[in-house]
Point group: C2
Chain length 119, copies 2
Amino acid sequence: MASSTHPNAACAACKFLRRKCTQGCVFSPYFPPEDPTKFVNVHKIFGASNVSKLLNEIAAHQREDAVNSLAYEAEARIKDPVYGCVGAITVLQRQVLQSQKELEATHADLIRFSSDLIH
Amino acid sequence: MASSTHPNAACAACKFLRRKCTQGCVFSPYFPPEDPTKFVNVHKIFGASNVSKLLNEIAAHQREDAVNSLAYEAEARIKDPVYGCVGAITVLQRQVLQSQKELEATHADLIRFSSDLIH
């Protein structure tokens, strides 16, 4: 956490937004100054104000997970402006279907072999 | 498309933002007035300004896909403010791993059976 490793340094969000990083800064624990890209991406895609609202609506112990999922989504959207991380969902859904098909075929082979063994 | 089905009606975005929906409106083809929630969700999570910037950066024929993926992500984030659609990715990744494990086990069974058949 930036607040513990850099007690006096402004977090990446406050640095980028050129404002004073106060003790209660909602971004500070999740946007360390060493990783400016994380904030730049999230700000570009969601906007600092939307992220701040979202963080204030969820429990403190879940905010780190929320920021990391937002950062993941933002990075995916920057890499693929059309599909973002929905592209990854489509690929995974296809993989699940493909695996299920293979599994069914292998099960069918297995049933065939075991019935051959019995007869 | 709203622009063709409702040539004179403001799109959901312009209605929500209380502005005149002009012929070149970047939102109009993708946010029909019949589906106000689509715009409300996307605006809440990404902000109209970010969406407009994003749409202007991509080719016109890909904008519909982009809007639909943004709407999907926004809905997922509203349903699950902590993980959003990254939650779906995690579930799918687990499903893929589980299927692969099952497939490996079934293949191993198959090899055992076929070697039993030979001997």
